[in-house]
């Protein structure tokens, strides 16, 4: 009855969240007095998981799963749960994971609690703390089903090293044509750029930028910081930036280490969506902008003056600290 963790990878490499969920799984296993088994799909560096407390890896190498397919992935993970007799499954909060995990939960009658922000409060009853009301509140949720699934919020638990040696075992799920009844036909994805979901730093801008033609400096700032770019809802509604960049209550949630908001006044919906970010910086001409109340650091000033200076000084800083 080990704790099973789904460690996500992309093009053979583990995502950053894989090590965070592995660390979380280790904490749960310690509470339950058991060990951690990982299920990885077409990952190449399975032995890396040992560093985070994983003692066994079920390694799936299957060309049919080279492209993400929610139903087939869900079936694979379901079979791994059965094989390991696992009673707890730990997963991330990535878009793909949030797509496939309800399918696992539905099949196994498992209670699934996403957006969990801390190690379980206790295992009998099994109680977890999660964000709810789009980050405007927290709920303490009891899971009563036999199989329990916990979705860990991005960056909420952190990566914790816990040196173990991971024994890698090949695992071949039995999949049929029916598992592939939804087919990916085209993927349009930015490569080589941080995404809002994975980035340590997110640079976000709002209507204060006055028009889409002024986003050059936002992108340059993001590039200097290795950050993802994001925007406020009005900016995406106006079509200045793609929907995928809209962060906030009805857009994407942000849980980065550093969130820099430029020319965003801070509507309650926006603040809710970004409140999980650890450090928030606001740059705005209006000292009364509500975002200042929710920020850690602020500059009252014109983005068109401050941002070029910031880019220049950050380049110097990066050169010195490289």
């Amino acid at each position: 009855m080990s704790v099973l963790v789904y460690t996500e990878s992309e093009n053979g490499k583990f995502k950053k969240n894989a090590f965070e969920v592995a660390s979380y799984a280790k904490a749960v296993a310690d509470q339950l007095g058991t060990s951690v088994t990982a299920i990885s799909i077409n990952a190449l560096e399975n032995d890396h998981l040992g560093a985070y407390g994983v003692s066994k890896v079920l390694n799936v190498s299957d060309d049919r799963l080279k492209t993400f397919n929610a139903k087939a992935f869900a079936n694979t993970i379901g079979q791994a749960i059965a094989k390991e007799n696992a009673t707890t499954l730990i997963v991330s909060s990535s878009t793909d994971t949030k797509f496939l995990i309800p399918l696992v939960a539905g099949k196994l009658n498992a209670g699934y609690v996403p957006n969990v922000v801390a190690a379980p409060q206790g295992t009998s009853p099994f109680m977890v703390k999660r964000s709810s009301f789009s980050n405007k509140g927290f709920a303490y949720t009891e899971i009563s089903s036999d199989v329990k699934i916990i979705g860990v919020s991005n960056n909420a638990y952190g990566v914790h090293e816990n040196a173990t040696s991971a024994a890698v075992e090949d695992f071949s799920p039995s999949l049929s044509e029916a598992d592939f009844s939804t087919k990916s036909i085209e993927i349009d994805k930015v490569v080589g750029k941080a995404t809002i979901a994975d980035a340590d730093i997110v640079v976000s801008a709002g209507r204060g930028m006055k028009g889409p033609e002024n986003w050059g400096m936002i992108e340059e700032l993001a590039e200097v910081l290795g950050a993802a770019t994001a925007c406020s809802k009005p900016v995406s509604d106006l079509g200045w930036r793609p929907h995928g960049e809209h962060v906030g209550q009805t857009g994407k949630p942000v849980a980065s280490n550093l969130y820099i908001a430029i020319g965003i006044s801070g509507a309650i919906q926006h603040l809710a969506g970004v409140s999980s970010s650890k450090t928030k910086v606001v740059i705005n001409t209006d000292p009364e902008a509500p975002f200042f109340k929710a920020a850690d650091y602020g500059i009252v000033g014109d983005a068109f003056e401050v941002i070029p200076q910031l880019i220049e000084k950050l380049k110097e800083f990066k050169a010195q600290n490289a």
Partner: protein, 246 residues
């Protein structure tokens, strides 16, 4: 094509969130309730299917009688008929089982739900529903076209979009992009009058198990005061040495 749009009754996005009864319940006092935004994008897309492809559109909600104004709003926007399952939606698994019964009895080809409700953020109802009914499923769906029984959908992925080919019967977890914000419809007087005459059928819940239970709520801790600086050197210094963020 017969479409069921599943709607959640949620606090308006501008609501301040408070809890009551010893922090065990959401305090609905003074709160304006609306159709969950992710569901409203789906409902508006369903209206497009109704107008362009002759689809029939029903809406379903799991909720007590207090959700009826929100359901009437969906009818005023243009849904043909509504079903309210008379139960409190406290657990995603429970809600999915209730909706599964409605879908089975109604013979729907397409079920449109939101990616998540903005109150409890479970994000699991459409997916669980898909497994209970063995229907195809696309989550974080940002566009949907149906041609006969073939469906082409776009879904949002981390860092981009993916085009997916699948077929009916299909369930989607929708969000903004299915239609634009500017496509959303405010019910007009005629719509509101007509909605009064449309069927709002109340059905009792089926026996269903719950897998989770929220036992207590709390609000985030109040934030300390912002540190204002007047030059970028100070900002970089604080981010490096104090916040250790760069």
């Amino acid at each position: 094509m017969k479409i069921l749009v599943c709607i959640s009754n949620v606090p308006d996005t501008t609501s301040k969130i408070n809890f009551t009864d010893g922090d065990t319940k959401f305090d609905s006092n003074g709160v304006q309730f609306v159709i969950n935004p992710n569901d409203e994008f789906g409902l508006t897309r369903a209206m497009w299917f109704k107008e362009k492809q002759g689809a029939t559109v029903h809406v379903a909600n799991v909720g007590l009688a207090t959700t009826e104004p929100t359901i009437r709003k969906a009818l005023a926007i243009g849904a043909d008929e509504a079903i309210r399952i008379n139960a409190e939606p406290t657990d995603g698994f429970f809600v999915a089982q209730q909706l599964a019964e409605v879908v089975k009895n109604g013979g729907y080809d397409l079920v449109i739900a939101g990616r998540e409700s903005i109150d409890y953020n479970g994000g699991m109802v459409p997916g669980i529903l898909a497994t209970l009914l063995d229907m195809n499923f696309v989550n974080t769906c940002v566009s949907l076209e149906v041609d006969g029984t073939n469906a082409t959908a776009m879904r949002e992925i981390d860092g981009g979009k993916e085009k997916i080919a699948t077929s009916l019967p299909l369930i989607i977890g929708g969000q903004k992009g299915l239609v634009e914000e500017s496509d959303l419809r405010i019910p007009n007087m005629r719509g509101i009058m007509m909605a009064r005459k449309k069927a709002l059928n109340v059905v009792e819940p089926v026996d269903a198990s719950k897998a989770t239970q929220d036992t207590k709520f709390e609000k985030p801790e109040a934030k300390g005061a912002v540190k204002l600086v007047d030059n970028v050197d100070d900002l970089i210094n604080l981010l490096h040495n104090e916040a250790k963020a760069i």
